[in-house]
């Protein structure tokens, strides 16, 4: 006697929003939103969106999502035999009259999710502050705002070869500036260690884990981290942010390219044929990353950091169904 089949449950932000300043103008100079580039018109656009959850989640406190725990909603989920010490109020006295046995009613509860946003702060992301690092943090800030506006909790964790900063979990839209400030103040640099993320996977309550990174690693290296996050009971969302220089390199000639994280180098002679090989490698990596995401039932979206932030947040995220209206 289980609860009804699971369905797509959505978090919808309340209609009331703060008064919107002029579109495309950042908030007060120096404010956390302004530092991330989240203009009032972007925030206003976010109010119409929600993060879809494809699975029932298991989290801590009352919210809008259906839980796998038993709670106190009116949906009867199951029965079990009475045991001394049980809450007599939930005793099914009619069943006792019919069956001469005591049973307890169990209900399906409604609980909220925690959107854990894991932001890559490594040197490869910091390599391009304007077209990669800032868009990555802004997208993270937007997703955190979506969660808070939907009455869920949100937390931000910065990681490179270790967890470098953590903020939250926090609840309520009024907490958004604290998360934005944490995002803007995240340290930068260092190598990326996916094993570090794997080790920290349980530091946030279960819910939705959103990993914002360039994912410039062999897909197999990501497995421990994604596996650990899934094993911790999370729904996974992977947001890849790449700079235009990575998507469309314009280098030519003989070069020694040095990896900004590992220091390893490759000697290349770049011409039309070499760039075709580069794009083929990038496509192959994207395909492998997509397969990896599917194997962990993770949503994956790749964003061009060179595009305007408004387009990234209100366009690409919606197209990728990471945010739905």
């Amino acid at each position: 006697m289980r609860a009804p089949a699971r369905a797509l449950h959505r978090l919808r932000a309340p209609a009331a929003v703060p008064a919107a300043p002029a579109p495309s103008q950042p908030g007060p100079p120096g404010s956390p939103a302004a530092r991330l580039g989240l203009t009032p018109d972007i925030l206003q656009g976010l109010e119409r969106l929600t993060i879809p959850s494809r699975r029932r989640v298991l989290a801590g406190t009352a919210g809008r999502r259906r839980s796998r725990r038993y709670g106190s909603s009116l949906d009867l989920a199951d029965y079990r035999a009475y045991a001394p010490g049980d809450d007599v109020r939930r005793l099914d006295w009619s069943a006792f009259a019919r069956l001469d046995r005591l049973y307890m009613r169990l209900y399906s509860g409604e609980e909220d999710a925690c959107a854990g946003i894991w932001v890559d702060t490594s040197a490869s992301v910091a390599w391009s502050p304007t077209t990669k690092e800032r868009p990555a943090r802004a997208v993270a800030g937007a997703l955190a705002y979506l969660a808070l506006a939907g009455e869920d909790r949100a937390a931000v964790v910065g990681f490179s070869d270790r967890v470098v900063a953590k903020a939250g979990p926090l609840r309520g839209k009024f907490s958004a500036p604290r998360l934005w400030a944490a995002l803007a103040d995240l340290p930068r640099g260092g190598p990326t260690s996916w094993r570090a993320l794997a080790a920290a996977a349980r530091m946030l309550p279960r819910g939705i884990s959103i990993v914002v990174s360039d994912f410039l690693a062999e897909p197999e290296e990501l497995r421990p981290a994604l596996g650990a996050l899934r094993k911790a009971g999370n729904e996974l969302v992977l947001v890849q942010v790449l700079s235009p220089e990575e998507l469309r390199p314009s280098l030519m000639g003989e070069l020694r390219l040095v990896d900004c994280e590992t220091g390893s180098s490759v000697d290349v002679t770049l011409g039309r044929h070499a760039l075709e090989t580069y794009h083929a490698a990038r496509s192959e990596h994207a395909r492998a990353l997509s397969l990896l995401a599917k194997s962990y039932q993770a949503a994956l979206v790749s964003l061009d950091g060179g595009l305007p932030l408004r387009q990234l947040v209100l366009g690409d995220l919606v197209r990728a169904r990471l945010a739905i209206s």
Binding site: S128, L216, A217, E246, E254, V258, C260, T262, S264, V268
Partner: protein, 619 residues
């Protein structure tokens, strides 16, 4: 010398590749990128696009060529034939039973068995697998490995220790068959043992050939086969039986220790195969005795025995029955038990409150008034609505209700046939211990403040072969110990036998101290746990005297003892194992090669290090 992988010679082409790279080397401007991940494939195309250049003499080139040459040489796997190597899968059973501690071979049978096993490990071929099974009271797989990594096998053999218990060949062979898995055709079994094992309960047919390597040369041994204390008019005395299992007469002295102090000695001569009963008067206050034979022979373990002195207190059992010799006999097996028999017609209701009876047993009869203070056992009861017991039925095969019920330790129900049993399907008498398709067959209930412990065995003994099975006295003894524990000490048993320890009412902690060991807390009262009644202690691997300390409420302590002895036995190595299979077949072998590739690889690594140093000095 032989090359195990000649095709790896193609790796020599790497030398050409290195030279080619020197043709192509060029200085390039450096540019930092987020990652070289997607640029790496581009480097493969670089050679085609790069211009050729004249090669110059270079230490780096020389060192790299040497290193590549050594790597290529290592890949060829040059090797020298050195010995005959085992192939396929070998399962080795190492006997760890008590008799393997005999020293008729130097330094002991067990040490020789382990050394033989190590020799087999050393002979393992590169792809040969080996499983090592320790055959003690509870055989177990101690290691599995192959020729490429012998260390787990050698470490496991180094950790093996002989036990004081018997060897369970049946379980060991079943483990060997399981370890072989589906590859039985390529498997060979080696049993390193003296062949002194527990008898097989059923014939074993091995699906692979086996080799029994008999260890031990002598059967000359004299041991103490029994030791017990009796009370008489003149006080307590200890009786020991000593047996010479060898073919040569022996002169021995038996020394008697009471509470650890030497109180007597008796010299005697034992002819071949002869036995001797020795009786010693015990001083007052003796609570345990030890008999030791001197001089020691090659198996000293059975030359000493310990017994707990029987208390003056007796356990009085009243059996109310029309007459059942088997039942009466089984009940009297516990030492210190006095069984009195009465017919149902002679039964008086007033006896139910008689304090002199410690345990009532009613067979085919349920009194109107059940005992209120003393525990009781109902056997084959007639229909009794008050107890929820109905008429007779055929229960079918008997099954344990719980997998690890201490009451069913060593009780084999497989061959018990029951034609008639009381219908207890609707009875709520107590916990079900033995069940069947038609309902419970044996139920027990522990003592409560208002009622004594009780049990009901539904089987009509005359309509069953249970009384004829070895399970019957074991079951009755367990039931007797459960219902009336602690009144008499358990008889000395063999090591590795689970021992029932009585905690009694009001116990807060039960501690057992093994011989020469540290105290082990086996039970401690918590708010949630009730008084334990009878506990089962399984850490009985060593022979000797075990001390049981029970702490009770109010700080009171009670101390009791139980003894475990290695029974005197023949230690003559068995000529063969009672196993059906192909015996004596030589182990499958092939030539074993000693490979030199690790040395070449190490040299290559050293050269690469030198090359790295040279490169950094140059730059």
């Amino acid at each position: 010398m032989q090359l195990l992988d000649p095709l790896a010679g193609l790796a020599g082409l790497s030398l050409l590749a290195i030279i080619a790279l020197y043709f192509l080397r060029a200085r390039r401007p450096t540019l930092q990128v987020p990652s070289t991940l997607w640029w790496r494939p581009v480097t493969r195309d670089r050679q085609a696009a790069a211009p050729w250049q004249r090669i110059r003499p270079s230490w780096l080139l020389l060192l790299q060529l040497l290193a590549a040459g050594l790597v290529a040489g290592a890949l060829l796997q040059p090797a020298f034939a050195s010995a005959e190597a085992l192939t396929g899968q070998t399962v080795v059973i190492v006997d760890t039973s008590a008799t393997m501690q005999a020293t008729d071979v130097h330094p002991s049978r067990f040490a020789v068995a382990v050394a033989d096993a190590r020799a087999l490990v050393d002979r393992l071929g590169p792809r040969a697998r080996m499983t090592v099974i320790a055959m003690g009271p509870s055989p177990s797989v101690v290691a599995t490995g192959d020729g490429s990594d012998r260390q787990p096998l050698l470490s496991a053999l180094a950790r093996l220790r002989p036990s004081d218990g018997p060897a369970d060949l049946q379980d060991a062979l079943q483990l060997a068959v399981a370890a072989a898995g589906p590859h039985a055709s390529g498997t060979h079994l080696v049993v390193l043992s003296d062949g002194i094992t527990e008898p097989l309960s059923q014939p074993v047919t091995l699906p692979f050939p086996y080799e029994y390597k008999r260890i031990g040369i002598s059967g000359e041994n004299a041991g103490v086969t029994a030791l017990y204390t009796v009370s008489g008019a003149a006080g307590k005395s200890a009786v020991a039986h000593v047996q010479n299992f060898g073919q040569v007469a022996d002169r021995l002295t038996a020394e008697l220790f009471a509470n650890g102090d030497l109180v007597g000695a008796r010299a005697f001569r034992l002819g071949p195969g002869a036995g001797e009963n020795l009786s010693f008067a015990l001083p007052a206050g003796t609570f345990y005795v030890r008999v030791a034979l001197v001089p020691h022979d090659v198996f000293p373990l059975d030359q000493a025995a310990v017994a707990v002195a029987s208390p003056a207190q007796k356990l009085h059992v009243l059996l109310v029955s029309p007459g059942d010799v088997f039942l009466q006999q089984a009940l009297g097996l516990r030492p210190g038990v006095v069984v009195k028999v009465e017919t149902p017609a002679a039964w008086r209701q007033s006896q139910a409150t008689e304090p002199s009876v410690d345990l009532f047993v009613f067979e085919g009869f349920v009194p109107q008034k059940l005992p209120a203070d003393a525990p009781y056992l109902l056997v084959g009861p007639p229909a009794d609505p008050a107890l929820g017991i109905g008429g007779a039925l055929s229960p079918g095969p008997l099954l344990p209700a719980s997998a690890n019920d201490p009451l069913l330790y060593d009780v084999d129900l497989a061959n018990v046939d029951v034609a008639a049993s009381a219908n207890m399907a609707s009875s709520h008498f107590g916990n079900v211990v033995i069940t069947s398709a038609s309902g419970p067959v044996l139920m027990v209930r522990p003592a409560t403040p208002s009622s004594p412990a009780a049990a009901v065995l539904g089987i009509y003994l005359h309509d069953s072969n249970l009384v004829l099975r070895s399970a019957f006295p074991v079951l009755l003894t367990h039931l007797s110990e459960y219902l009336a524990p602690g009144a008499v000490p358990a008889p000395a048993q063999a090591p590795s036998t689970p021992v029932a320890v009585d905690a009694g009412p009001g116990a807060t902690q039960v501690t057992v101290t093994p011989p020469g060991g540290r105290p082990l807390v086996i039970w401690r009262a918590t708010k949630a746990s009730a008084a334990p009644g009878s506990l089962v202690f399984t850490g009985t691997s060593r022979a000797g005297l075990y001390r049981v300390n029970v702490s009770r409420k109010g700080g009171r302590q009670s101390v009791s003892y139980f003894a475990l002895n290695v029974p005197g036995q023949s230690i003559a190595p068995a000529r063969s194992l009672q196993v059906v299979g192909t015996a004596g077949k030589a182990l499958p072998t092939s030539e074993l090669y000693k490979s030199v590739w690790p040395w070449l690889a190490a040299a290559a690594l050293a050269l690469l290090f030198v090359e790295w140093v040279v490169y950094h000095r140059a730059s």
